[in-house]
C-alpha cells in the first residue's frame, strides 16, 4: 500500500470508528460496528431510519466532529461513507472536535 493510501486509510478509519460508535449509541442500533457497511443506506432502504433519526444523525456529526450540515444537504446523509466524506472535506487536517 502506498504511503499516500495508507495515510488516507488511517484518517478515514478513525472517523468511521467514531461515527459508527456514536450512531450505534444514539440511534440504539442492534449492530456491532463491523456489521455496518459504510455504504449501507441510512434512510429509507438499508437501515430504514426515519426523519427523526436523520435529525439525530445531523446532531451526532455536528457534536462529534464540530462541522455543520446545512438543512438542505440531504445527499450527505445517504450513507456512513458520504458522512465521512463530508467530515473529511470540512476538516481536511483533523477529525474529532
Amino acid at each position: 500500500m502506498s504511503e499516500q493510501n495508507q495515510k488516507l486509510i488511517e484518517r478515514r478509519r478513525e472517523i468511521i470508528a467514531r461515527l459508527k460508535a456514536e450512531l450505534i449509541k444514539r440511534l440504539n442500533l442492534p449492530f456491532q460496528p463491523d456489521d455496518l457497511h459504510e455504504d449501507v443506506a441510512l434512510l429509507g432502504s438499508g437501515l430504514g431510519l426515519d426523519s427523526l433519526d436523520a435529525l439525530e444523525i445531523v446532531l451526532c456529526v455536528e457534536n462529534t466532529f464540530g462541522v455543520k450540515i446545512a438543512d438542505d444537504n440531504i445527499a450527505v446523509l445517504r450513507s456512513i461513507n458520504t458522512l465521512v466524506d463530508f467530515v473529511m472535506e470540512q476538516k481536511p487536517n483533523g477529525g474529532a472536535s
Binding site: M1, S2, N5, L8, I9, R12, R13, P30, F31, D34, D35, L36, H37, E38, D39, V40, A41, G44, S45, G46, L47, G48, I74, A75, R78, S79, N81, T82, V84, D85
Partner: protein
C-alpha cells in the same frame, strides 16, 4: 423455463429476452440510454415476473417464514414489508426477499439464484402444512419505476396510493380481480411492484404503458435495472450477490436479525461474524475509456489485491462504476488501484451511492 404472462405483451413491443433463474425475462425494449432516461426523468414499466411469488395465510406464516429467512418476520407490522434474504445451510445467499404482511396473508417475492422448483422446495420444507400457495405461474409481476412512477400508480389505483410509505403493501380491485401493490423498487427512484393474476396481466400492462407514455416514459427491460441498482447502490443478487454469495462481505447485515434462533445458515454466519471476515465489497469508478469487466483484478504495489464483481455504466457520473471485493484493510473509498496489471488504468474507490436521485428531493404525498 417459465414464461411470464406478460411475455407476449413485451414481445409485441419489441423486447429482447434472457433467462434469469429459470424464467424468461424481457431484457431490453428500447435503447439503454433511453430506458435509463425514462426511469431517472419520467417512468418505465417492466416485466418483473422473474420474481418467485408465494402467499401464505396469516395463521402459521410467521413461524414458517421465520425459519426460512435471516430477518425477523414477527416484527413486520400490518401493511408493511421486510427486505431480507434467504441463505443455504452454509450461509451462502439463495434469494433476496420482500416479505409483506398483507393483513390476512403474508406475501413473499423472491429474486433468487435458484429456479422455481428449488425455491418452492425450500418453502415446503419449512412448512408443508402452512397453506403455502405458489403464485409464480398464476400471476405476473409488473414493475413501475421512475421519478413519475407515482403518477402511473395514481392513475391505475387512485390517489390514496400516494400515501403509501416506502416498503408497504396494499390491495386494489382491478378488472374483477385483486392487484397486490408493493411500494418498493431498487432503482432509487419511486417504484411499485404490481402482483397481478395472469388473466388480467396484459390489460394492466397496457394501461400502465399508456399512462407511462402520457408521463413521458414507456417500457424498459430488466437489464437497465442492473445499471440503475448499482448506481443507487441497491443490492443485486444477480450481479454482486451471485459473484460473492457471502452476506457479510456484501454488507447485508442490515437484512439480518442476529438475535433470531433459527434459519438456514445462521450458525455459519454467526461463526464468520465472530471470526471477522477478510474481504468486503467497495464501490469504484474507472477513468473514461477504461475497459472494466466482471473478473478484472485490482492491483496495489505490483500485486493483485482485489477483483471486480459488478460493473455498470453510470450515466450521471459519465463513467464506468462497479463493485470490487478487497481485503478489509484496504476496503476504503478514496484509494487508487491499477486494473488488470500493475501498469493498468487507475480506478478509484468511491463512497456509495455516488448519485442523488430526483425522487429523494421531493415528497410523494405532497404531489
Amino acid at each position: 423455463m417459465r414464461r411470464s404472462a406478460l411475455r407476449d405483451f413485451f414481445a409485441a413491443n419489441g423486447a429482447a429476452f434472457e433467462a434469469r433463474a429459470g424464467v424468461e425475462c424481457a431484457r431490453a425494449v428500447a435503447d439503454p440510454a433511453a430506458e435509463y432516461a425514462m426511469v431517472r426523468d419520467a417512468v418505465a414499466v417492466s416485466d418483473a415476473s422473474h420474481h418467485q411469488v408465494f402467499a401464505m395465510p396469516d395463521a402459521g406464516a410467521i413461524d414458517v417464514l421465520d425459519r426460512l429467512v435471516a430477518g425477523n418476520v414477527a416484527r413486520i407490522r400490518f401493511g408493511r414489508v421486510l427486505h431480507t434474504f434467504m441463505a443455504d445451510a452454509g450461509g451462502a445467499l439463495v434469494a433476496d426477499c420482500y416479505i409483506a404482511n398483507n393483513d390476512d396473508e403474508f406475501l413473499v417475492l423472491c429474486e433468487s439464484l435458484e429456479d422455481d422448483a428449488a425455491i418452492r422446495a425450500r418453502f415446503l420444507a419449512a412448512g408443508r402444512d402452512a397453506g403455502l400457495r405458489d403464485l409464480s405461474e398464476s400471476h405476473a409481476v409488473l414493475s413501475v419505476d421512475g421519478f413519475k412512477a407515482w403518477a402511473v400508480a395514481r392513475e391505475l389505483f387512485g390517489a390514496d396510493v400516494l400515501g403509501l410509505p416506502y416498503l408497504s403493501i396494499e390491495r386494489y380491485p382491478f378488472e374483477g380481480a385483486t392487484v397486490r401493490l408493493i411500494r418498493a423498487g431498487k432503482t432509487s427512484e419511486f417504484g411499485y411492484l404490481l402482483v397481478v393474476p395472469a388473466a388480467q396481466a396484459q390489460v394492466l400492462a397496457e394501461r400502465a404503458f399508456a399512462s407511462a407514455k402520457k408521463n413521458g416514459g414507456g417500457l424498459c427491460g430488466i437489464a437497465i435495472h442492473d445499471d440503475l441498482r448499482l448506481e443507487g447502490r441497491f443490492f443485486n443478487i444477480y450481479a454482486e450477490g451471485a459473484a460473492v454469495r457471502d452476506p457479510l462481505s456484501l454488507g447485508l447485515q442490515w437484512m439480518m436479525d442476529f438475535e433470531k434462533e433459527e434459519y438456514p445458515g445462521r450458525s455459519a454466519l454467526l461463526r464468520r461474524r465472530a471470526a471477522g471476515f477478510e474481504r468486503k465489497i467497495v464501490g469504484f469508478k474507472a477513468p473514461p475509456g477504461a475497459k472494466v469487466r466482471k473478473g478484472s483484478t485490482l492491483h496495489d504495489g505490483g500485486r493483485s489485491v482485489g477483483e471486480v464483481v459488478a460493473v455498470a455504466q453510470s450515466r450521471v457520473l459519465g463513467c464506468t462504476i462497479g463493485l470490487a471485493m478487497l481485503p478489509v484493510a484496504a476496503a476504503y473509498s478514496g484509494l487508487e488501484f491499477a486494473m488488470d496489471a500493475s501498469d493498468g488504468p487507475m480506478v478509484t474507490t468511491i463512497s456509495m451511492p455516488p448519485i442523488m436521485p430526483r425522487s429523494l428531493t421531493v415528497k410523494i404525498d405532497e404531489m
